[in-house]
Symmetry: C2
Subunit: 160 residues, 2 copies
């Protein structure tokens, strides 16, 4: 009985430790991003090379440090950019926002994410803050963003 | 000579007073709105009943009081909502933001704008902060917004 209890306790703690470790290592969910600077918006239609998974209307939000980065073209550690992707509905000569598909995140930490240009990449499914979509440590994200090296790997620019 | 000087002075002062009066009366340009809450976005296409002047992609921004209003469905004096209308460019299976068409403003002041539901309406052309588009004291704007009386005359709702 005592052994069973100890085994249960060990399993319980290993789960706790594993989850904590994943949270410590992973790019954090960008709490409060809907109150950050709305930098720009773009719509990707069916037939675009990035249709899967990026078809939809996306808004890019920047925290304070990332807003400075957008002006300068380079980003201090702690900069966070959010790619907020929603489905869209086309009707009656309008295109309207639909359900959220994912929340993409770029989180600058030069040391921690040195192998991907200093940026941590993550995607959170739908409205979840825990269901993570990036499975390769951001390598595939970086493979596309590397084309924007001159802008510190960020596609977005700042519009007026 | 002295009379000419006095006449010039009188004309000068009347211009100053007239401009100041217009500024005091008009809905102010919403300085800093690009840093406010981005509430929602919608695209209006050619053929829509509001095509002229509202064809484009528009973003709705809310200052702090208006953000509370969006949650409650009624707005305190000092609430400001911005309808930021941009042209759009459709190419290569994307729709991208273009030049700014106008900045529409709703400014809540129950006493001052009592005849239009407590809201002052204004539009600023393109990137101008002074070229005003609303010529009828907001009556035509209110004529459409009156349908939303239950939501304090605001079309937009708050999305997650």
């Amino acid at each position: 009985m005592k052994i069973k209890f100890l085994v249960t306790l060990a399993v319980f703690w290993s789960v706790i430790v594993t989850v904590s470790y994943a949270q410590a290592e992973g790019v954090p969910f960008p709490e409060g991003y809907r109150n950050w600077l709305h930098a720009k918006t773009m719509l990707i239609q069916a037939g675009h090379p990035l249709e899967n998974p990026f078809q939809g209307i996306h808004h890019v939000y920047a925290n304070g440090k990332a807003a400075n980065g957008l002006k300068k073209g380079s980003y201090a550690d702690g900069s966070v950019l959010v790619f907020d992707l929603l489905n869209y509905v086309e009707k009656d000569k309008t295109i309207q926002e639909g359900e959220r598909k994912l929340v993409g995140v770029m989180h600058k930490d030069s040391a921690k994410y040195a192998s991907t240009g200093g940026w941590g990449f993550e995607g959170f499914a739908g409205n979840s803050k825990t269901e993570r979509l990036v499975k390769d440590g951001g390598k595939s994200c970086f493979g596309c963003h590397v084309s924007e090296k001159a802008k510190d790997y960020v596609f977005s620019g700042l519009r007026e």
